[in-house]
């Protein structure tokens, strides 16, 4: 018999779930690198801030698409709702950023929950059409009601107070970057905990086999509206971050183009990993920045080209492909 001081032997199952919950070196390096960028002299912080915001936005779509298997062609609607809510709050005197961000996320989440109630019995192509349709309706309303929304000119005169009353949003984007990074990290922690809980497993189960989930007693329709609310609230928070860090909102925040872009970002990066959206955002925005400098008119050609290459050679996107490669190398 082994000595009494030995730790209790752990079941392989416990080790497995512990290894899933544990922070990997790659994850720690990823977040440390995002923080380290702040200290690089002459770093293009406004661009990196955009990357972080797009990453958060794409991560929110990943909860829907990657984990629950619900494709949405209208995710920018929730980004836009968050952006406009934060904008109106700032314009009409509620200038404190953190509470403004929370309110914007709640409004987007509520609309997302209602949307989830509408689409919970719809699937496949019909789902793409409904989400796209809702996005187009919202865009058109904002576009037309120019007295209320400023129309194409966007919402002017948005005022945002210093973060925690201390850190003013400066022209170099230093406060904006750290603020966006901090909010994104907190929401990432929430998403990470969610997907590693039994609820996260149930989302995967419903993605894989909804009929089986019903026969296990799961109210899968209620889960659709729940996950839709969470994903929309996070998209709304990303929209609010964009408004607060740029002190401006335009209808482009809820354009169909943005819905398509976020889908492209997530698919390039890889679904069902949470990090796919961030890696996709880094690739997409750095490439866009670089290409726009090279040929300001034709950069979408290269984005399209990249999408084709990624889907043809990596299939499941960058993050899952790199993981598979790393596992193979480790086994050798």
């Amino acid at each position: 018999m082994s000595s009494l001081s030995d730790p209790a032997p752990r079941l392989p199952g416990q080790q497995y779930f512990a290894s899933i919950a544990r922070w990997s070196p790659g994850e720690i390096i990823f977040w440390a690198a995002l923080l380290a960028v702040f200290f690089v002299p002459d770093a293009n912080l406004p661009l990196y801030g955009q990357i972080v915001i797009w990453g958060l936005f794409a991560m929110s779509l990943d909860l829907l698409l990657g984990y629950r298997g619900i494709p949405s062609m209208g995710h920018a609607a929730f980004f836009g709702i968050g952006a406009y809510t934060a904008g109106y709050l700032g314009k009409f005197g509620w200038t404190e950023p953190i509470s403004g961000l929370v309110l914007a996320a709640l409004v987007a989440g509520l609309v997302g929950w209602l949307t989830g109630r509408v689409i919970q019995r719809v699937s496949g192509i019909a789902l793409l059409m409904v989400t796209l349709g809702l996005n187009l309706i919202l865009y058109d309303i904002v576009h037309r009601q120019s007295e209320l929304t400023g129309g194409d000119d966007g919402l002017q005169g948005v005022v945002i107070a210093p973060v925690l009353g201390l850190f003013r949003f400066d022209i170099f984007g230093r406060t904006a970057y750290l603020y966006a990074l901090a909010v994104t990290f907190v929401l990432f922690l929430v998403a990470r905990a969610l997907v590693k809980s039994p609820f996260g497993l149930a989302l995967l189960g419903a993605r894989e086999n909804p009929r089986r989930m019903i026969t296990l007693g799961t109210p899968i329709e209620r889960d659709v509206s729940t996950v839709f609310a969470i994903a929309s609230a996070m998209a709304g928070a990303a929209g609010a971050l964009l408004t607060q860090t740029t002190q401006f909102v335009s209808p482009a925040t809820l354009s169909f183009q943005r819905s398509a872009d976020v889908l492209v970002i997530l698919i390039i990066g890889g679904t069902g990993r949470l990090y796919g959206g961030f890696i996709g955002a880094i690739v997409f925005l750095l490439l866009r920045d670089w290409l726009a400098a090279l040929s300001p008119v034709y950069w979408y050609f290269w984005i399209g080209f990249l999408l084709v290459i990624v889907v043809a050679f990596f299939r499941r996107g960058i993050v899952p492909s790199v993981e598979t490669l790393a596992q193979r190398l480790r086994r050798r």
């Binding site: 199952g13 919950a21 809980s197 039994p198 149930a202 019903i214 026969t215 296990l216 007693g217």
Partner: protein, 252 residues
């Protein structure tokens, strides 16, 4: 459980009628299942066996009549409510979580049973009870070594076992097995039923099976469905020798 509850039948149907448009599947079906028995449903193709299971689990609603579970009418309960009441089922064609492993699949079932499947920030790793029970179930089913293998990569026979394990994880009072041995060789089928006899313990089991050898070896009682009616409900021995059964089913 009170004595009164154990006296009454677990499952009962009263004048159950099911029609799809003009096609009548059953008419006035009165069926009853005793607590703790292993009960087989046999009958030719199209006799309505799978339809009957779907009516019991709530995937279909009857055109008329009632389904009672533990003396309570559940005719209009949702499939989820029936699961919570204690009815679990397996499918004739594997209905699993292909991209997940058996361990994660069982954790899903157990978390749902324990009411822990809702929104939460607590990782599975910190819910040792769920992992322990899932691991124990896998060991019981001889799947301990396959716990972390992606389900779709498991051999077919092991997938069939996982199908039953998912249903038993719910600790049902009534387990419905829709052709558990479907797709298995005769030998594998016998092996599966040998294991089922041990694994299901004293759970009431209602199963559909075509292989008569399996039915007569495993079932306590047998119901024969044919042409929209319950022809006979009796012990395997009496059913085997029943003239109507020999005529409609065994084709003698």
């Amino acid at each position: 459980m009170t004595d009164a509850a154990s006296d009454q039948s677990v499952l009962e149907t009263r004048d159950l009628r099911m029609a799809f448009g003009g096609l009548v599947v059953f008419e006035n079906l009165n069926f009853s299942l005793r607590r703790g028995e292993r009960h087989a449903i046999i009958g030719p193709n199209g006799a309505g066996k799978t339809t009957f299971v779907s009516l019991v689990t709530g995937l279909l609603r009857p055109t008329g009549g009632d389904v009672m579970f533990n003396g309570r009418v559940i005719t209009h309960s949702s499939p989820q409510q029936r699961v919570k009441a204690g009815i679990a089922r397996t499918f004739q064609i594997n209905s699993l979580f292909k991209a997940l492993n058996p361990l994660a699949s069982l954790v899903i079932a157990l978390a749902e049973r324990e009411g822990r499947g809702g929104i939460s920030l607590r990782s599975v790793a910190r819910q040792a009870g769920l992992i322990e029970e899932a691991s124990a179930l896998l060991a019981k089913f001889g799947l301990a070594d396959d716990a972390l293998v992606t389900t779709e990569k498991l051999p077919y026979g092991k997938q069939r076992l996982l199908e039953v394990a998912l249903a038993l994880a719910l600790r049902p009072q009534l387990l419905l097995l829709d052709e558990p041995a479907a797709g298995l060789s005769t030998e594998q089928g016998h092996e599966l039923f040998r294991q089922l006899a041990i694994l299901t313990g004293d759970t009431t089991v209602l199963f559909i099976e075509h292989d008569m050898n399996l039915v007569f070896r495993y079932a306590d009682r047998v119901s024969v469905f044919a042409a929209g009616a319950l022809v006979v409900q009796d012990t395997p021995e009496r059913v085997r020798n029943h003239p109507r059964v020999r005529e409609v089913y065994l084709g003698v």
